[in-house]
Symmetry: C2
Amino acid sequence: MNLRRDVYQAIADPTRRAILVLVASQSMTAGAIASNFDTARPTVSKHLQILTECELLEQEQKGREVYYHLNPERIKEVADFIEPFRKMWDDRFNKLETIMKEYQSKK
Amino acid sequence: MNLRRDVYQAIADPTRRAILVLVASQSMTAGAIASNFDTARPTVSKHLQILTECELLEQEQKGREVYYHLNPERIKEVADFIEPFRKMWDDRFNKLETIMKEYQSKK
DNA sequence: AAGCCCTGTAAGAATTATCTTACAGGGCTT
DNA sequence: AAGCCCTGTAAGATAATTCTTACAGGGCTT
């Protein structure tokens, strides 16, 4: 077996990304989250389980309802991977700006 | 069929992320890239194909060798998804700082 | 306590992804 | 042109993931 189940695998699924966006602004119950999608409720429940396992979401039981809210901390792992690359396209952008300035000064 | 094959799916695989880091600083041939991994060469070739398909890598043929180099532009898609969440953990950090200051002023 | 509602989970089929072996195209070198 | 080297690809076995139907636990309400 040896499941992957890391943050990258988690955000690879479009439904799971949509869940993260949905829960970003406010806590929501499992049912409320599921009602936003066409897929069956147990399917969404499974997605919630996956997101919770890699700590992108956190659960909070309130009576018989379970609220899910975002844990932004974990997304940082992906951000840290991307950060060095960001520098690269920033550099390219800066280079483009320089070219544009030179172009305009020749007018 | 209808394969996923998007940027998120691409970076979900640890080998593919390693390839991106490897190629970030310099262009490399397919063989040179493959020699960095334990998996068979065709396996790496497949990964390169996937990365090229979603435009994270670009090919440059030189004689019988193929050089791969990074296209930072595409990673921006992931960065844009993450950016809004970044604000959330920044806010949390700021809140923590505020608490610390209050704590110190009471000493 | 009985019944309803919210939620999670097990099982299994269908889909998708991964990796290896074997082979093919095509540029170099001699 | 013959042979070697670099690379890509097809086929098929294996593994992992996804999704649905059916069911179970446990908190509310009456």
